[in-house]
Symmetry: C2
Subunit: 341 residues, 2 copies
Amino acid sequence: MTKKRSVRLDDVATAAGVHTSTVSRVLNNEADHRVSAETRERVLSAAKELNYHPNAMARGLRTSRTHTLGIAVPQLDNPVFAQIIIGATAAAHSRGYDLLVSLVEDVSGESGVYERLAHNNRVDGLMVSTLEKDEVLVETLKRASVPYVIVNRKIRGVVNCVAYDSFAAAKESTEYLLSLGHRRIGHLAGRLTGYNGTKRLAGYYAALNAAGIESDPQMVAEAGYTLEGGVRAVRSLLACKPRPTALLAATVLSAAGALKALYAAGIIVPDDMSVMSIHDVQIAEMLHPPLTTMRLPLQEMGRVATLGLVDLIEGKATVVSKLMRPEGLLIRASTAPPNKL
Amino acid sequence: MTKKRSVRLDDVATAAGVHTSTVSRVLNNEADHRVSAETRERVLSAAKELNYHPNAMARGLRTSRTHTLGIAVPQLDNPVFAQIIIGATAAAHSRGYDLLVSLVEDVSGESGVYERLAHNNRVDGLMVSTLEKDEVLVETLKRASVPYVIVNRKIRGVVNCVAYDSFAAAKESTEYLLSLGHRRIGHLAGRLTGYNGTKRLAGYYAALNAAGIESDPQMVAEAGYTLEGGVRAVRSLLACKPRPTALLAATVLSAAGALKALYAAGIIVPDDMSVMSIHDVQIAEMLHPPLTTMRLPLQEMGRVATLGLVDLIEGKATVVSKLMRPEGLLIRASTAPPNKL
DNA sequence: CCCATTTGAGCAATCGTTTGCGCAAATTCA
DNA sequence: TGAATTTGCGCAAACGATTGCTCAAATGGG
């Protein structure tokens, strides 16, 4: 509260009886420490004594490094992004960086975010996890003045991407449903204009084909990544005859919507229909019945992207590219063999 | 990618044929605009032409203002905090600030966060929503060098607090259960060492007393703010005889745990037992049965706290203190009159 | 027409660090 | 012992903006 003048390098220098430059070198542990042990000691204790903290602005101005990372996400109330951010903050802190979270809700409108963060030298690097169309994003990032990495998708023309192997995740999920004996499997797809949505759809088809099952476009409904989307998609799938006996949702929120809609339609899960989804988050175990999921390393992805970005910034790497493998099934009560009629 | 030198005030000045100071004044719209309309025009177009963006560091160093706010939360995977942050980001952006999110998980250990953010002049102000004991927090904040506001609780000795009227929320919730005809109402309390936990407990008691019902400590179990806590608490409450016919959970996650545990115990909701909770978040409608809730203005709280903090920073206010009223019941399918045996 | 006032814009100091360079003292080597 | 290094530290110039002053030119009043 009190507007006490903060203690500067100067103050420490005076207290230790040396020049500011010496203090700076000591405190920054310069590579070739051309400072006597005794002086070093004196400086360190003076700094501690005065409770010195370097001024981030001044330092930033001089070194043009902010020790801050930015991350742009489209939503925060989606546990998937929350988890990614959790992983990212932890990793950032572990490397001495802070994390600036930017919510970029409106896909098209927001022209300012990248500018605000990157252009003003507010951040040393940027993680981007928004939902723009590839071309738009590429175009915007072309103007970025700091290193960046795309999180949660892959983009043609951008080398630094950390994404899930969504194809494998969907394929393995579908294989599990097949192994239970299901033959008519529906898919609540993600956004079919985006990376994850299309990859998951492809993985789903691949598993069906490999099992010699002819894929039926009627069994696929785009649900996006929301509860409501799941509700709508299930309604449309229920119109098919014969009905599917199992559903694979591209994400947990749409699966939740599916459960809701199925319940409303009087269809019992898993007796009448199995449901599973990609992404294991806490919600899965709160649903009724608890949801079988394919686990993807969410926090880990935030971590990997962050560490990679820091390496990029610090020149320890020139490329950050990783496809994260699914971590396996978590079988709960929402899946079972199909009902023999 | 290319390390293009960024365009400075100097460049704009040269382009416009004036001095940097003039450019600065134009761009900042100085109060008494002692600049001719023509010059102003020239400067503005030059700035746009060159795509000039002020260097945040340099400006910050000079003005000792970062236009960044910090918010410290204990968890991100709790939708309650996610919503608060959503409200806060929007409000911050609307006033031209960015938001630095800090996850302070370990209550006791983390000594560094406040220092890192506030002391280094990384932020102009701080919102604190962590779970430390009051005394610890007060002690830490005493050393803060920037304005701050406590979010989601009230603390003796700190004037700038934005919190819920948790007492009213719990009281009104309990009254609803009473109005349905319930007489034996259990409470899944929050943390009984904290503000919200105790206030909600008090509100619950108050409603019971007002209805002439003797309160029974056995009907209260501390569940905290997690799924597991809810599960455990319900198990202990089920041991009471006679059993409660309704439960009020202090938060939605513990309510989810309650539903899970009740299902496991073969108790039907709401037929055999009603369940409701404070805090309406999307999870509530995904649960089975959909959960009756007392709505509290989550995003709004983030907004109010942020705007207040900015006012504090900009000297437009000296106090930020608000108790936010509940927004009313959202009646879903988890509550009903008690079963007449 | 002359002096007082206002207007418009430049000068230069400053914010707190970092860092290339210089220079004395201390050390090494022959 | 004298020259060549090495060691330890200070000097002062950046970094890019903001802002109190200064001062000439333009304006106004009598």
